[in-house]
C-alpha cells in the first residue's frame, strides 16, 4: 500500500507525472494547500499573473505556441469567475487547457459561503468537460483524465474544481495507466473509402480550392507539412481562416490569403466560383461564409473535421469526413500518389484567380502626413520576419490588419482570439508564449483600447524579465466599433472614442518597461529598430491615422461577391436586417 498523501500533493504529483512545466495562476484562500505543495517542489514553475483572466490567456498563448496544454490555477469564487472569459475563449478556438479551481470545503458547498461560486455550473457550457472532485482518492484519475480530454480529439478547456477539504484530506497516490475512457473515444483515423472519394473528387475538379483552418495547427506541425505537400501535388489554390494562418506559407504563390469578412478579394471570389471546396479543419463560421444562401453556390464540398458536430452545422456538405486532419492529409497524399494522379491542368482557373489578384485588394491610400496602420504592420513584418517572431493580437481593426499584412510562414506563430474575439487577449498571450519560447521574439500587436483590458499584466512581464514587445496601433478609437458605426449607423460614434487615454510611454516606464513613441511615417523604421534593440520588455505607442478603416470587407449578411474594397464604397446607413446581424 503506497503511503497516503494530501490531495494537494496528489494534484501536484499528477501534474508532474503529466509533464507539466509551468502553471499560470493567482493564489487565494481556497487554493492555499495547493500553493503550499507547489512551494515545496521545484519541477513545476508558477507564473503569477495580475488577474485570473490573464492566467487563462497566458495559458492559451503557451498552448498555441508550444502545442502543449496550458495549465491554470485559481481560487474559488471570483478567481473562477474571472477565468471564465479565457476558458470560453479556449473552447471557441479549440485550445488545450486545464484549469484547476479551488472550491469551498465540501461541507460548505451550497451555503453561499465566502468566495463560493458554482464553478462547475458556471463553466459547464464553456468547457469541453468539467469535474467537481469530492474524494481525494478520485483526484489522480480525474487529473489524468482531464489532460487526456483537453488534449485529444478537438482540444479544449477542462475545469477541475477541488474543494479545500479534499486538498487537505489524504489518500494513496497511484499513478494511473494509459486512459481508456468508457465513452470518450474521438475518431482520429477517417474512413478510408471516404478519403478515396475525396481524392477522386479533387483530381476531377476544374476549380478546386483548399479552405484550411485552425484544425491543421492543432493537429501538429506534421499536418502543415502535409498540407504543403497536398497543395504542391494538386496545384490547387489555398486559403485560410484567421485561425489557420501560418499552416501554409503566406509567401507561397498558391496562397490566396485569408478568406471571409476581412479576407482578400481573390480568396473570397475563388470560394464563390469554385467547383470543389476541400475544407480542412475549419468550421464554416459566419465570419467566413457571409450570407449562407449565397455561399459558394456552385461547389461540391468536402469537410474534414475531428468534431462531427462541426459538419453540416452551418453549411451542408457533400462529403463529410470525421477524423484528425493530419491523418486525413497523410492518407490523401498517399492515395493521390498511389493512384498516380498527375498535377491537374488548372491553367484557366489560375488565370481567373490572377485577374482577381490584380485588383490588389490590400492596397491602401497613403497620401496624408499620418502613419497608415497597414504601413506600420508591413514595416513591423519587414523588420522582424527573418527572426520568425510569434505574433499575438488583441481584437479589432489592428487584429485584422495584422492578419492581412503580416505574412505568416509557419504554424504556432500567430496567436489571436478568433472565435470569441476577446479584447485583452494579446498581452497575456504574449507572456504565455514567451514563457514557452524563451528565446523567441514575441510581439503583441495591439490597439489602444484593447491593451487597457489587461494592462496590469505589464507587471507580470517585468517580474519574470520577459522581453515581450507590445506594439500599439493607437488611433484613439475602438476602431472596429467605429468602422461599423461608419458603415451601419450613419457615422454616429456612440462611445467608440478612446477618451482619457494614459500616456502609454510613461505608463510603460512606471511598470519598468521601455516606452517608445512613433508619430510620423519617417520615424517608423527607426522606432521599430529601437524596439528590437532595447533589452527587456518594450511598449511602443505608434500613432496612426485615426479614421482609417479595414478593407476589404464583406458587410455582415452580405455575399462574398458583395465585397467593399475601399472606403468610398461605404454607405452610411443599413436596414434593420443588417443591423440585427453581428
Amino acid at each position: 500500500m503506497p503511503r497516503e498523501r494530501s490531495g494537494a500533493d496528489i494534484l501536484v504529483q499528477s501534474l508532474q507525472d503529466l509533464g507539466v512545466e509551468v502553471i499560470f495562476g493567482y493564489p487565494g484562500g481556497a487554493v492555499l494547500p495547493i500553493y503550499d505543495a507547489l512551494f515545496q517542489q521545484s519541477k513545476i514553475r508558477h507564473i503569477l499573473v495580475r488577474h485570473e483572466q490573464a492566467a487563462t490567456h497566458a495559458a492559451e498563448g503557451y498552448a498555441r505556441s508550444t502545442g502543449k496544454p496550458g495549465v491554470v490555477l485559481v481560487t474559488s469564487g471570483p478567481g473562477a469567475t474571472n477565468a471564465v472569459t479565457g476558458i470560453t475563449d479556449a473552447l471557441m478556438d479549440s485550445i488545450p487547457m486545464v484549469v484547476i479551481t479551488g472550491q469551498v470545503p465540501t461541507t460548505l458547498i451550497g451555503t453561499d459561503a465566502f468566495q463560493e461560486a458554482d464553478t462547475v455550473g458556471i463553466t459547464r457550457h464553456c468547457t469541453k468537460h468539467n469535474y467537481l472532485v469530492k474524494q481525494p482518492e478520485r483526484l489522480a484519475a480525474t487529473v489524468h483524465e482531464a489532460f487526456h480530454i483537453a488534449t485529444s480529439g478537438r482540444p479544449g478547456p477542462v475545469v477541475i474544481d477541488i474543494p479545500k477539504d479534499v486538498q487537505v484530506a489524504t489518500a494513496p497516490y497511484v499513478r494511473p495507466g494509459p486512459i481508456q475512457h468508457r465513452t470518450y473515444r474521438p475518431r482520429v483515423k477517417a474512413e478510408q473509402s471516404l478519403v478515396e472519394t475525396a481524392v477522386d473528387m479533387l483530381a476531377a475538379a476544374e476549380r478546386p480550392i483548399l479552405y484550411t483552418g485552425g484544425g491543421i495547427i492543432n493537429s501538429g506541425p506534421a499536418a502543415s507539412q502535409l498540407l504543403r505537400e497536398l497543395a504542391r501535388i494538386t496545384g490547387a489554390p489555398v486559403t485560410s481562416t484567421l485561425m489557420g494562418l501560418g499552416a501554409f506559407p503566406a509567401s507561397d504563390g498558391q496562397f490566396l490569403g485569408m478568406l471571409g469578412m476581412h479576407g482578400t478579394y481573390e480568396a473570397n471570389l475563388a470560394m464563390n466560383r469554385a467547383d470543389l471546396i476541400l475544407c480542412l479543419g475549419a468550421r464554416f463560421d459566419d465570419r467566413v461564409t457571409g450570407r449562407l444562401d449565397a455561399f459558394s453556390p456552385k461547389s461540391r464540398k468536402i469537410h474534414v473535421d475531428i468534431d462531427r458536430s462541426s459538419i453540416n452545422k452551418n453549411v451542408r456538405v457533400d462529403l463529410p469526413i470525421v477524423g484528425d486532419v493530419g491523418h486525413v492529409l497523410e492518407d490523401m497524399v498517399r492515395i493521390w500518389k498511389a493512384r498516380q494522379h498527375g498535377r491537374p491542368e488548372l491553367g484557366r482557373w489560375w488565370a481567373e484567380i490572377e485577374q482577381w489578384r490584380a485588383r490588389q485588394c490590400l492596397a491602401f491610400p497613403e497620401d496624408g502626413p499620418e502613419i497608415m496602420p497597414q504601413r506600420a504592420i508591413r514595416a513591423l513584418h519587414a523588420a522582424t520576419h527573418r527572426l520568425n517572431p510569434i505574433i499575438t493580437t488583441e481584437v479589432g481593426q489592428h487584429q485584422m490588419w495584422a492578419a492581412q499584412h503580416f505574412g505568416f510562414e509557419a504554424p504556432n506563430k500567430w496567436l489571436t482570439s478568433g472565435g470569441l474575439g476577446t479584447m485583452g487577449y494579446g498581452l497575456p498571450a504574449a507572456i504565455g508564449a514567451q514563457i514557452g519560447n524563451p528565446n523567441a521574439l514575441v510581439i503583441d500587436i495591439a490597439g489602444e483600447a484593447s491593451i487597457q483590458m489587461n494592462i496590469q499584466e505589464l507587471a507580470t512581464a517585468t517580474q519574470y524579465r520577459l522581453p515581450v514587445k507590445v506594439f500599439i496601433l493607437n488611433n484613439e478609437y475602438m476602431g472596429m466599433v467605429r468602422q461599423w458605426q461608419d458603415l451601419t449607423y450613419g457615422g454616429r460614434y456612440a462611445e467608440s472614442y478612446s477618451e482619457s487615454l494614459p500616456d502609454f510611454v510613461r505608463l510603460a516606464e512606471a511598470y519598468g518597461w521601455t516606452g517608445l513613441r512613433i508619430e510620423r511615417p519617417a520615424e517608423l523604421e527607426d522606432g521599430i529598430a529601437a524596439m528590437l534593440s532595447a533589452p527587456g520588455p518594450v511598449l511602443v505607442d505608434c500613432r496612426v491615422a485615426k479614421l482609417a478603416n479595414c478593407f476589404p470587407m464583406i458587410p455582415s449578411g452580405a455575399a462574398h461577391t458583395d465585397m467593399l474594397l475601399q472606403a468610398n464604397e461605404v454607405s452610411g446607413e443599413m436596414d434593420d436586417e443588417a443591423k440585427a446581424l453581428v
Binding site: R124, H125, H129, R182, S309, E577
Partner: protein
C-alpha cells in the same frame, strides 16, 4: 423587421449516459444554450449496477437542427450513445399520468366511466375525489386530461415520454 421561423418535426431521442452528478444539467443546459426545444425529458438509471442512465428526450426542430442536436449530445463526454428512435423506425412511446378529479354526483360517475374507457386505474379515492393512473401515448393522455377538465379536474402529474424500439435488438 420580423423574425423568421422554420418548419419543425418531432423526434424522440434515447440517450444513454454515465449516471453521474450534474449529467442532467449538462444535457438540459445544452438544449437551452443552443436554443433547442425540449418537449419532454425523462431520466432513470437502467443498469443493475446503477452506472448508466437512460434519458428519453422528445424534441422538435428543423431536420438539420435535429441532426445537430444528436451530434452535440454525442460530443458530451459522459454520453455513451444517442439514438433517434423516430428515425430508426417503429418504436413504442409511453407516458404515465396521475390525474386528480374532485366532485360529487354525476361528475363523479362520469369521471369513473371515462376512466374505464381509457383504462385508467383508480389509485386513490375519497368521497369527493379520485386519483387516476393512466398510461399510454401522449395523445391518449392529452385527450383523457381534456375530458377530465369537464368533470372536475384538479391537478395533473405526468412523467414525460419513455420510449423503446420494437424488435429484439437493444439501441
Amino acid at each position: 423587421m420580423r423574425l423568421k421561423e422554420e418548419a419543425r418535426e418531432r423526434h424522440t431521442l434515447s440517450v444513454t449516459v454515465d449516471n453521474e452528478a450534474g449529467i442532467l444539467a449538462r444535457i438540459a443546459g445544452l438544449f437551452s444554450a443552443r436554443g433547442y426545444n425540449i418537449e419532454s425529458l425523462t431520466v432513470a438509471d437502467v443498469t443493475a449496477d446503477e452506472s448508466i442512465s437512460r434519458i428519453t428526450i422528445v424534441t422538435s426542430g428543423a431536420a438539420h437542427t435535429i441532426e445537430q442536436i444528436i451530434a452535440q449530445l454525442d460530443r458530451l463526454v459522459p454520453v455513451h450513445a444517442v439514438t433517434d428512435l423516430t428515425e430508426l423506425g417503429p418504436h413504442v412511446e409511453r407516458e404515465l399520468a396521475l390525474v386528480k378529479v374532485a366532485g360529487t354526483g354525476d361528475h363523479r360517475i362520469e369521471a369513473l366511466r371515462l376512466a374505464d374507457v381509457y383504462r385508467a386505474r383508480v389509485v386513490d379515492a375519497t368521497t369527493s375525489s379520485f386519483v387516476f393512473e393512466v398510461t399510454g401515448g401522449s395523445d391518449k393522455i392529452d385527450t383523457f386530461i381534456s375530458l377530465m377538465r369537464e368533470v372536475g379536474l384538479v391537478e395533473v402529474a405526468r412523467t414525460g415520454v419513455v420510449a423503446i424500439a420494437r424488435g429484439r435488438d437493444a439501441v
